[in-house]
């Protein structure tokens, strides 16, 4: 089961910082990040890729997105 980061309702750079904290904490595996703006979605994806994580899926979720990343 994927670890989850719920960054809905937060503005940049907070979703990115929370994602990086999770990346540092888990090191590998699967993380699901929930955001509610396009900007946060793009920034989280950029950060994940810069850290060598694959973006497995980006799915609409209510008014936001669920981004699944894996390493």
């Amino acid at each position: 089961m994927a670890n989850t980061v719920d960054a809905r309702g937060l503005s940049c750079p907070q979703p990115v910082m929370m994602t990086l904290d999770a990346i540092k904490k888990y090191g590998t595996g699967e993380i699901e990040v929930m955001v509610d703006t396009d900007t946060s979605k793009e920034n989280v994806i950029r950060l994940a890729q810069s850290q060598g994580w694959d973006v497995v899926s980006v799915d609409p979720d209510g008014i936001g997105y669920k981004i699944k990343i894996r390493k």
Binding site: C12, V16, M17, L20, E42, N43, R46, L47, S50
Partner: protein, 192 residues
């Protein structure tokens, strides 16, 4: 391990000291950028600021300059065909330029904002973790080139983009470097 920073009071007062300073107002941002470069090349102590709302005319950037050199500066700008729309002394009028920079400490991360652009740095690794703001077409490209690189290894935003966003990001980048180089009155007060 985290860095914690404490601002020195004496540096704060120096930054806010506008005695003997004036403000140059321009039509557009590109004139401000050209004027900044030109005046720095001539050795003047100037800085880009937000114009006080009372005298804002065209552009959201202005140049703060030493009043004692007002005539010389006007002559240089006229020679290079970037005459300002006007200039005002700061100290006599009570007008206060708006500082372009804001910093926000998130604990493990430091966000440096310059005008409309934000740069977020991991304080432990000095990794650039986020670039946001703007809305200019080159921001996605600049972000891609900066995110994931250490501040000291990252390319300069001005070499990557040529919009107002790229320029503002360059200012944020220089400010961040200055902060982490210890030149901004912040001190590492403890190591965990």
């Amino acid at each position: 391990m985290f860095w914690f920073f404490k601002r020195k009071k004496e540096n704060q007062s120096k930054v806010n000291d506008t005695k003997g300073r004036g403000i140059l107002i321009f039509e557009n941002t590109s004139e401000v950028i050209r004027a900044e470069k030109l005046l720095k090349q001539h050795g003047y102590e100037i800085k880009v600021v937000g114009p006080p709302p009372e005298i804002r005319k065209g552009c959201d950037l202005a140049i703060e300059f030493p009043l004692i050199y007002e005539m010389k500066i006007h002559n240089i700008l006229r020679e290079h065909r970037i005459p300002p729309l006007g200039s005002q002394p700061i100290s006599n009028t009570g007008l206060k330029p708006v500082d372009l920079f804001q910093t926000k400490d998130f604990g493990k991360y430091l966000m440096v904002k310059a005008a409309n652009m934000k740069l977020t740095i991991d304080k432990e690794t000095l990794l650039i973790v986020n670039v946001s703001g703007g809305g200019c077409p080159d921001v996605p490209y600049i972000s891609k080139e900066l995110i994931g690189k250490r501040l000291q290894d990252a390319p300069e935003p001005r070499d990557l983009g040529h919009t107002l966003c790229g320029y503002a990001l360059q200012l944020a980048y220089e400010k961040a470097k200055s902060i982490f180089d210890g030149k901004e009155g912040y001190q590492k007060s403890s190591w965990n």
